[in-house]
Symmetry: C2
Subunit: 194 residues, 2 copies
DNA sequence: AATTTTTCTTGATCTAGATCAATTTTTGAT
DNA sequence: ATCAAAAATTGATCTAGATCAAGAAAAATT
């Protein structure tokens, strides 16, 4: 599918736009391609764009005293960016990297703000998008805080088996909050049980 | 200060409303008082209201296999509620309790949705409120994931010394992610250093 | 003011998961 | 297809913080 059509479909899930609104809104998104391993934003930079993932997988991660901690993954059909940096136009405290070649669309800060000002439908989309992101993050929080490493591993396996094909084990390990060694050992245990 | 005025001031920080809009919007918030220890929402219920804290302190927490884990506190001038439950009108997976007597204002789901539909200014307030909440939660996530128990303790002490007066140690302990025993020991260490 | 309940403290012990280290396997680049 | 680099595995050891337990202090209830 063509990228803009893909975007339209996803935006429509949250808010209805008139043909005219969509024409204006969609004209402000530009294609942006990233090759495997490259960054769309790095810690310390100010995020100037908000991204739609037409294809590929992106990984958001923290770099604290050397340790690389994955905090989330974005797949095709979803949006990404360093929200806090973007919304407040301040230095980002995390980075986002393509873990596969990725075809993105992106919209600049000024353009998006203009769209919020101009159209109620865009404002609504923004509100609902944020609400969803908030809910997702709250769920992640529950996940990380109320389960043991073992439980988190099993829940990842149950809930997102596909993720094992898309993301390396060491990134998954930091995502669920354990070392790659522990992750590997748990994986082995599970495989042996079969 | 009167509660509605307090609310107005806080809403205005994010979005400007006309006098007429405010009249309609504000008329839908009703006073709600909670005594110490009581709940505004409990796990499993569907959240029907969104709350403004005019006075008091509320605590949001998870109950997982018996363990009580605090995930956040709300002070005067801020909003609270089980967002995910409220927004999707599904069973909440956490509870919210007053840790002091609290004077709240609350608005019902249908009323708030009507306001979103009717006024762009309210839609904007909703978008920005969600954005802020999202940013806050992202920061919390960074906090919990990139620091050791010791570092988290010290950062809490530095960044929110006032919280020690408002919330019991055992609740703070689960908030920063350790047992009350560990929390107590760290506190002692710090006091002895003086 | 007295008593019950809850919270906090302190010590002793235990354990899930981290760390360190040395292969082996997989992946991507040429 | 070959080679270099990165990722994963496996074993041995270590440790931050949990758990268990029991008394002291504080706060709520009568």
């Amino acid at each position: 599918m063509e990228a803009l059509l893909h975007l339209k479909q996803k935006v429509n899930e949250l808010s209805e736009m008139t043909g005219e609104e969509w024409l204006d809104f969609s004209s402000r998104w530009k294609p942006w391609n990233v090759s495997r391993g490259n960054y769309i934003i790095q810690t310390g930079q100010v995020e100037k764009y908000f991204y739609f993932v037409h294809d590929g997988v992106l990984r958001a991660f923290l770099l604290n005293n050397g340790a690389d901690i994955s905090v989330g993954f974005t797949y095709k059909g979803d949006f990404t960016g360093a929200y806090d940096s973007f919304l407040e136009q301040q230095a980002a405290d995390w980075s986002i990297q393509a873990t596969t070649p990725a075809a993105l669309l992106r919209i600049g800060y000024t353009d998006l703000m203009a769209m919020f000002d101009r159209y109620k439908s865009v404002e609504r989309w923004g509100r609902l998008f944020n609400a969803r992101a908030l809910i997702g993050m709250a769920r992640r929080q529950v996940e990380v805080r109320s389960f043991s490493a073992e439980e988190r591993f099993d829940r990842l396996f149950e809930q997102s088996p596909h993720i094992f094909q898309l993301v390396s084990q060491k990134h998954l390990a930091s995502y669920v909050g354990m070392t790659p060694e522990t992750f590997s050992r748990m994986r082995k245990q599970r495989l042996e049980k079969e």
